[in-house]
Every structure is written in C-alpha cells, then in structure tokens.
C-alpha cells in the first residue's frame, strides 16, 4: 500500500470515528470545552447532521451541474453562441453575491429551513462548472471533431459520443471545485435553520465551546478533503484513458 492510500485510509477512519463514535474523543476535547460544560455535541446525532449536510450539497451540486452543463452545451453550439456573454454575466453574478446575502434574501421567499441554503449552494456552484464546461467543449481536438463530422455522426451523436466524453475530465474538475465550495458554504445554512454540520459549529460559537467548533469543523473539513481527493482520482483515471 502506498503512503497516499495509507493516509486516505487513516483520514477516512478518523472521519468515521468522529461521526459514529464521537464519545471516543471526549478525553481529547475536554480541555477545550468550558469547565463543567458538555464536551461532545449531543443535541442531535452527528450522523444525521452529516447525511443531511451531504444530501443538501449533493442535491444542489446535481442541479447546478445539470443547469451549468446544459447551458454550456447550448452556448457552444452555433445557435447559442450569441448568448455566451449574457450567460457568463449571469453565472458571475451568482458567484459574486455573498452566500449570506443570498440566504437573507431567500428566507422571506422560501421561509426558514433547507430552501434558502439549496438556492445559495446552487447559485454558488454554477460558475466553476459552467466555465470549465465551456472551456472543455470549445477546446476539443479539432482533428477528432473533423473526423467525427466527416464519418457521418449527426449533431447528437457527436455531442453524446465524442464531445461530452472528451470534455468529461475538465467538467469534473469544475464539479469538484463546486462541491468543495458547497461543503463549506452549507455550514452557513444553519443560520437559517437548515440541518447541516454548521449547527455544531454555531452552537459552539454561541456557548463559547471550542470543542463543538472543532468537532463540526473537523468533520466538514475531512469530508471536503476526502471527496476532493476521490473526485481528483476519478478525473486522473478518465484523463489517462483519453490519452491526456
């Protein structure tokens, strides 16, 4: 086993222990908790918070991927080329808007809970995926595209059999960035009562309990690192298969 795989396995083990067996860490966190106060977050199970957190991120990322990739496909066709600047502007605005502001503005419309968080994560996720998809779809090897047309693939066949598979590694890079941003941003969702790991962090901040903050932070951080790494591995595998 390589050092990298050993490290991965170690981090995965640590993450699982933090989520499933938080009591194991009581001795470690006790010095950080206020004297006599609770050490391990117990108001709701860390597992259910993690699943809810990941679920929100997954839902928002899938939606952002579908919209961003569809949009990128559209603006890289001759018909849609004139919409390229407009769609860039829109996705850029999505990125510039601070997530807290999105949450604040979305609450009156969608109420407290997961809704505003989903909107914020979705808007935040669009830009990296969209930009990467555009880059990937507009820099495909010209000889391959020419051959695909010359041998009689129609538009759809070219898109599904050649363009998207070849663009996939670069699009995946965009999705990876977007997912990692969303994992972090989702913690803020707890301020508007979305069930995420942010709950643990915020509870810690409110009660001056560093042990809580550290627990929540560590779990989110480990999820981010491990998911980032897994997706990077997948990209490397796909890119290698395409002779990259």
């Amino acid at each position: 086993m390589t050092a990298g795989n050993l490290l991965r396995l170690g981090l995965l083990g640590l993450l699982l222990a933090l989520v499933l067996r938080p009591d194991w860490f009581t001795p470690l966190f006790t010095p950080l908790a206020p004297a006599g106060g609770p050490v391990i977050y117990a108001r709701s199970s860390l597992l259910s918070l993690s699943l809810s957190h990941l679920g929100l991120v997954a839902l928002a990322s899938v939606a952002a991927t579908l919209v961003a990739v569809t949009l990128a496909i559209f603006v890289t066709r001759p018909v849609g080329a004139s919409f390229l600047p407009l769609s860039r502007t829109i996705t850029n605005i999505g990125q510039t808007f601070p997530p807290v502001a999105v949450l604040a503005l979305a609450v009156p419309a969608l109420g407290f809970g997961s809704g505003p968080t989903l909107v914020a994560l979705f808007l935040y996720g669009l830009l990296p995926i969209f930009e990467n998809a555009i880059t990937a779809l507009s820099t495909l090897p010209p000889a391959t595209m020419e051959a695909a047309r010359g041998m009689g693939l129609n538009r759809w066949q070219r898109l599904w059999r050649v363009e998207l598979p070849l663009a996939l590694p670069v699009i995946l890079t965009g999705i990876r960035l977007s997912v990692v941003i969303a994992l972090g941003t989702a913690t803020i969702g707890s301020t508007v009562a979305a069930r995420t790991l942010g709950e643990v962090i915020i509870a810690g901040l409110l009660t001056n309990n560093t042990a809580y903050v550290l627990q929540g932070g560590l779990i989110v951080g480990l999820f981010a690192v491990l998911i980032y790494d897994a997706m990077a591995q997948l990209e490397r595998y796909l890119a290698a298969r395409m002779g990259g």
Binding site: A143, T144, A147, R149, L153, R161, L166, R241, M242, G243
Partner: protein, 311 residues
Amino acid sequence: MIEIDNITKIYDSARAVDGVSMTIDTGTITVIVGTSGSGKTTLLRLINRLEEPTSGEVRINGQSTLDVKPHILRRRIGYAIQGHGLFPHHTVARNIGAVPQLLGWSRDKIDARVDELLDLFSMAPQDFRNRYPSELSGGQQQRVGVARALASRPDLILMDEPFGALDPIIRTRAQEDLRRIQQALGSTIILVTHDMEEAIRLGDRVAVMDGGKLVQYATPADIITHPATDFVADMVGDVERPLRLLSLTPLADVIEDGHASGTPLPPDANLRDALSACLWTGRSAVPISDHGKVIGRVTLDAIRARAEVHA
C-alpha cells in the same frame, strides 16, 4: 464513377473553388495536388458536403450528393485526415468499427471486419484491438485512421494529407501500403496533397489545382512530360523532372537478357532505383532478380533512352 460537375464554392466573394469539373473512374487513385490556398482541400470537402457548394454538384454513380442528408452521405464515403483524428476515448477496434456501427452492422460482422483490416495493415489483431490510440506510435495511429476510413467498404474514400504528419521513412511505407491495399480492395480513392512526389507515386491520375481552378488533370507521365501551365511545370520541378519520369517505369518494362554483376533489384522497383544503384556502385547495368532467380538486366543506356524520349 464520380462526376464533379462545374462545382464552385465562394466565401465572402473569394472563389475558393472555381468551376471545377472532373470525372473519376471507379477503382483508381486520383491525387489532387496544389499549394496551400489552391482550393484542393475545399474541393475534397465539397464531395462529402463538409462544405456546401455555391453552385454545381457531385454525382456518385449517377446520384447527386445533394439528394441525400449530409450525415447519411458521409457514412457512405470514407474519410481520413492529417493527424488521423482518432477518438482518443475509444479502443482501436471501436475506432475502426465506428462507421459500420453507425450503419447498423451486427457485432460479429464488425469484429470480423476490424480483424480483417488490422491484418491488412500488418497489425496483429489480438495485440492492437483493445489498445487506445495514445498507446500507438504515429505510424500505427495513421494506419488505424486509414483502416477506419475503409471499414464499411465505402464507394469512395477521401483522404486529406493523410501522411502529412509522418516522418519520411514511415510515410514511404504508408504510401506503399495504401497502394497495395487499394489494389487488393479495388477502392476508389481521392487524395489531397501538397507534395508532387506523393502525387506521382500514388496517383493513377493527378489533378493540379491553382487559385481555385483545375489547371491540369492527367496521368502522372503526362503531367511530367506535358505540363499544361508554368505553374504545373514549377510544381514538377525542372531538376526533378527526368527522375520523376523514371520513377514511373517499373524495371519489368525495360528488362533485357544479359549478364550484370552486383546486388540485384526486384522487377517492381523502378528505373530511378536502378539509376541510383548504377551511379552509386559505378555499374553500367544491374541484374534483376525475381524471388531469388536472376531474370535479366537493365542497362544504363536503356535508362537514359527512357529519360530522353521526351526531350
């Protein structure tokens, strides 16, 4: 038979291809040769409608190419290009089988065809079938590209500088392979090149393009001995002219009885090879041997006589 009938392509008032007409016989190689910007590639792309003609039409066995949807038409026409354009995410077998698959051939039939073509190009099927293009050498990639163009046994194969990206040694081999395979399969090929040497070596007929116009369409010997314009003469080159002419005649045509010493040449070598052998080794004749048996000789005088006929 392919008939190109008064075809013209105009881009923003520039006539890229200007009223070109030519008839191409089934089972032959026609080479379109010209400098860059001569319209040779555009002419080729007008045939499979990668470019739409401004006026005129192309007929394949009597049927106008304008009567068929472009992507359906292209499935009937093989297409090989410079830099091969293989699908990097598909194996060699899937690349070669791409057009048969589009045409709805059965799995077994495609597999058999892929193996047959790999054999034809001297690539052992069991070694190459499942490789990806990035795992092949440049010459192998190019062969797979040509095999892909041949896969569905198309009526017509178009090739745009197919050997342009190969180094000279591999290019010569690829040209010989193409000649051999074309003769074995009886395919009709139209090939575009900027290299007159390649045109003369491969073409049954050579079409010279200049400024969008077809300036001469003739056999290689005619192009060399009777260039229609100064441009054609320039393309052939004064210095190379006699040598190019000699390269068209196989030794079998001028063989005579008699003795000669030194390393023999095969009867399908050409007069230029023989001349080169004579000059290099100081001989005045070379023996010709067919499968190890000497069948005669070719003398320097006979070679000279051939080169001077047209003076």
